[in-house]
């Protein structure tokens, strides 16, 4: 079966799953089966089919599993968000369509994605500008003590979602060019392999950007995610574990320093280590997140069975259920099994992403695919780890599931880039096979 036919076959069960999910939510809320679930299922399938046919024409050799896996997460997200608030789900569905338009546009305009290399400093600049935007007067917005949003007239978005792609593109390009120098020029000082000072600059820039985020944007999650993606790329590009160790030491030294001096950061860490004394204040969200999971058990309470607000009030029992803590809601309603399915889906996407990187034969493609995949996987880890108390809880979205336009659009652009790399890599693989 051709790659695209496999993709088509995989989309069918995803659409059926979405239909079943909506049916379950309707059954719970109205105590009846509603044709609406079939209609939603049909819409979803139609949108996926349109995307599929676009890929069939434009990227016939691209990885056939990535899009269905992402559609599966989307289906999960749409049903969960619908179950929280039908209005939010409508927005989410609109963003899904808009994201697919941008996804198609990315594929259309960046078919030759090597042009990205040419503009890498511009892209890096745009990325840094986006990072700083929330602190710019007039357009920046503060949410929960963190500067995450930007508002330009009617358009509000979270720039960090987009700047992560810019950062990965820049790093992939920069490291492709300098990796040899970084390896060869490395010197051993006191038994530790240090990168050559001349090429150390960009590393410091990235470290500085991460610290900047930590302190001025107060976006712990994005900061962690960016730096981890950077270290992952640095390791893949150079193969030097010592660089990673140095980088981590720098990050943790910085993080430790700011945790001790910046109250916002300090609170987050304190609440992570010891939430119970803050049960009614800053620890409320993480504790409620864990309590919601405790209530889920192996199989969960079922779709739409979870309490999100305290009955009779508008007070949240599970704060930010549609964004930060949506994973806890999934554990509550679908149980450990449902949660494992979600984690497994992320892992499969990660595996396909790295497969693309392995197949790609030029350095930029390899690093780009690796970086995009890594930043995606780390984002999922940061937020799931946050709500399960593996790491401090931060306001990062769960890719493709959380409510939020910026996240969906940015992640579909990320997916488009991955598929572009994949199409070229697999085309060349197929080509070389036919030649030999």
């Amino acid at each position: 079966m051709s790659a695209r036919n496999r993709e088509l076959m995989a989309l069918v069960p995803v659409a059926l799953l979405l239909t079943a999910g909506f049916a379950a939510v309707f059954a719970q809320e109205n105590a009846q089966l509603d044709n609406l679930s079939l209609i939603y299922g049909a819409y979803f399938f139609a949108v996926c089919l349109a995307t599929h046919f676009y890929l069939r024409v434009r990227l016939p050799n691209a990885d056939p599993y990535l899009f269905p896996l992402v559609a599966l997460l989307m289906a999960f997200g749409l049903v969960m968000v619908y179950r929280i608030d039908a209005g939010l789900a409508r927005d989410q569905a609109n963003w899904f369509v808009l994201a697919l338009v941008l996804f198609a546009a990315t594929i259309h305009f960046l078919r030759d994605y090597d042009v990205l290399e040419r503009y890498r400093y511009t892209i890096a600049g745009v990325g840094l500008l986006l990072l700083m935007a929330p602190r710019l007067p007039g357009i920046g917005q503060q949410v929960n003590g963190a500067y995450l949003g930007v508002k330009l007239g009617p358009l509000a978005f979270q720039p960090a979602e987009f700047s992560k792609i810019c950062l990965v593109v820049f790093l992939a390009s920069y490291l492709r060019e300098h990796r040899e120098v970084l390896i060869v020029g490395a010197r051993r000082v006191l038994g530790v392999t240090l990168p050559p000072l001349k090429h150390f600059g960009p590393m410091l820039v990235v470290w500085g950007a991460s610290m900047f985020m930590l302190v001025f944007i107060r976006d712990l999650g994005s900061s962690l995610m960016f730096f981890a993606a950077f270290l992952a790329l640095l390791y893949v590009a150079t193969g030097r574990l010592s660089f990673v160790v140095i980088g981590m030491a720098m990050f943790f030294a910085g993080a430790w320093f700011f945790a001790a001096t910046v109250p916002h950061v300090h609170d987050r860490v304190e609440v992570w280590l010891n939430p119970y004394p803050h049960a009614q204040t800053s620890g409320y969200q993480i504790l409620q997140s864990i309590f919601a999971q405790a209530d889920g058990g192996l199989f969960g309470k079922g779709f739409a069975e979870s309490l999100i607000t305290i009955p009779g009030t508008d007070n949240a029992l599970l704060p930010a259920a549609q964004t930060d803590t949506i994973y806890s809601l999934i554990v509550n309603e679908l149980g450990l099994f449902g949660a494992c399915a979600v984690i497994l889906t992320y892992l499969l996407i990660t595996a396909r992403g790295f497969k693309i990187a392995l197949l790609a034969d030029d350095g930029f493609s390899k690093l780009l695919a690796t970086g995009l995949t890594a930043v995606f996987a780390i984002q999922a880890f940061v937020i799931i780890g946050g709500v399960t108390r593996v790491i401090p809880l931060t306001g990062v979205t769960l890719p493709f599931i959380s409510y939020g336009g910026s996240s969906i659009v940015a992640n579909f652009v990320l997916l488009a880039l991955l598929l572009l790399v994949s199409d070229r890599a697999r085309r060349e693989a197929v080509h070389s096979r036919t030649v030999t």
Partner: protein
């Protein structure tokens, strides 16, 4: 670079495995501990979403029901007790913030519909909300009202009325009462009141000296063990030296060659003291235990809210047959005996039911939301402490008490009544304000003696009067109410 990519993937697999590990820990392994946390209101809020079943009196009077508040996702149920304090004991209360007690607590699973995991999964598949079952009790509203009204007129204390042949609890009142509807507003006031202790069900948690009502147990042990027959004479002097202190009869009256009837009718202390000594500790404790002493009564109330009866040492520990006790004084209900009104009602009920003690039960049947009776009380025997013959002989003696002895105020015109009074002196009792003339007044008995329909224990604490003056009239009123109701 491929080698590094594969290693990086390996690291991510490990990280994701950590996520699965933590999720499993919270959702499965540590789940029950988390559900117990004080900060975790989720289980309570969820229970509030379920319409708890009603609790009904025997005639269908609604004792407790749940009313919906709010709409849509804000809908929740709050407990209402239409009859207020009348059924505060033994029904108890159930509120999300303040927990639950007594009958509401014991029957929680049935009331919220948690019958089985399987059923609730079926209901979920059918898209049905979990709904509670109604429980019909054996409580007789008229008898309950009489018991509480009489107690409130007489003083703090308790009344327990049991149908002897089935163990059905037809009335259980405790004074001072409390209105369960007020629990959400006055919880701290109710729960910290150490003198009145309105939340304490004195019927099951009041531990009082039984006084002479205990002579019924001593007599039962004497007859059943063959130590005496109804014709056995025992010389009962006005005063008897026991363990260094004199044991005295009322007014120092002596009863030479008295038999059981005379001794019980006149509540002769020196007669029963000697009987106790003849029985020996093993035999007396054996029969006490058969009547239910030294065990938690098998009633449908939370075991933590039903106290044991027996001889307690100063540390509050129950004594057994091998511990040194003043047997003569145990035999007349003194020493360190402490009993609950429920236990004494069980003694009366066992004698009334030809020696068979039935398990006392408040519930009668469980009715599911569709109106089907899913469970029905099947009366079961707890023990048979004495034979039918012994019971009959004892009944005759107890009839004498009411007909011509110390318990004449329990008499009901046209009905044969069997009973026994008790007046334990409790001088200096802190709960009574430390007065020197304070008594614990008792009456236990059953009626009609030839075909018992009801066995009752009534007790009043901190009274200067005797059992016949304050407790026997309560017995009479409650028994009459029940007999007239039939």
């Amino acid at each position: 670079m491929n080698r590094q990519i594969i290693k990086l993937f390996g690291l991510l697999v490990v990280l994701f495995a950590v996520l699965v590990g933590f999720t499993s820990y919270w959702s499965v392994f540590d789940a029950s501990a988390l559900r117990e946390k004080n900060a975790n209101k989720r289980p309570l809020l969820e229970q509030q979403q379920i319409q708890r079943g009603r609790i009904l009196a025997a005639d269908g009077t609604v004792i407790a029901r749940s009313v919906a508040k709010g709409h849509g996702s804000g809908k929740r149920y709050v407990r209402r007790y239409p009859r207020g304090r009348l059924y505060g004991h033994p029904i108890g209360y159930s509120f999300v913030q303040f927990g639950d007690s007594e009958f509401e607590r014991f029957h929680n699973d049935e009331l919220v519909g948690n019958e089985s995991e399987f059923n609730s999964i079926l209901d979920q598949l059918r898209g049905r909300d979990q709904q509670g079952n109604d429980i019909v009790t054996n409580l007789d509203p008229a008898a309950q009202a009489t018991a509480l009204a009489d107690l409130e007129a007489a003083g703090y204390g308790a009344v327990v009325a049991i149908e002897p042949k089935s163990g059905r609890v037809m009335a259980m009142a405790s004074n001072p009462p409390y209105d369960p509807n007020r629990v959400p507003y006055e919880f701290s006031k109710l729960s910290t009141n150490e003198i009145e202790t309105p939340l304490l069900n004195r019927a099951t948690q009041g531990q009082y000296p039984p006084g002479s009502t205990f002579k019924v147990v001593t007599a039962a042990a004497g007859l059943e063990s063959g130590t005496i027959t109804p014709e056995t004479p025992i010389d009962a002097p006005g005063s008897l030296e026991v363990e260094g202190t004199p044991l005295e009869n009322d007014f120092g009256e002596s009863f030479p060659g008295a038999t059981l009837d005379t001794a019980l009718t006149n509540s002769v202390n020196t007669w029963f003291g000697q009987l106790g000594q003849r029985l020996g500790e093993d035999t007396l404790f054996e029969y006490m235990e058969k009547f239910g002493f030294n065990s938690t009564p098998a009633i449908d109330l939370p075991s933590g809210e039903v106290y044991k009866s027996g001889v307690f040492n100063e540390e509050g520990e129950l004594l057994g047959a091998n511990d040194p006790v003043d047997l003569a004084r145990v035999a007349i209900g003194q020493e360190r005996l402490a009993v609950t009104p429920l236990q004494m009602a069980e003694v009366a009920a066992a004698v009334a039911n030809k020696g068979k003690l039935m398990k006392p039960q408040i519930w009668s049947r469980v009715v599911d939301p569709d109106g089907r009776v899913t469970k029905r009380l099947d009366p079961s025997q707890y023990s048979q402490p004495i034979s039918a013959k012994t019971a009959e002989e004892l009944t005759t003696a107890m009839e004498g008490v009411v007909a011509e002895g110390t318990g004449t105020n329990a008499a009901i015109p046209g009905v044969r009544v069997a009973g026994k009074t008790g007046t334990a002196e409790t001088p200096g009792n802190k709960a009574c304000g430390g007065g020197e003339e304070e008594n614990q007044a008792w009456f236990i008995g059953f009626a009609p003696a030839d075909d018992p329909k009801i066995a009752i224990a009534a007790t009043v604490e901190c009274t200067e009067e005797f059992g016949n003056d304050v407790a026997a009239p309560i017995f009479r009123d409650v028994a009459e109410t029940i007999l007239n109701g039939e």
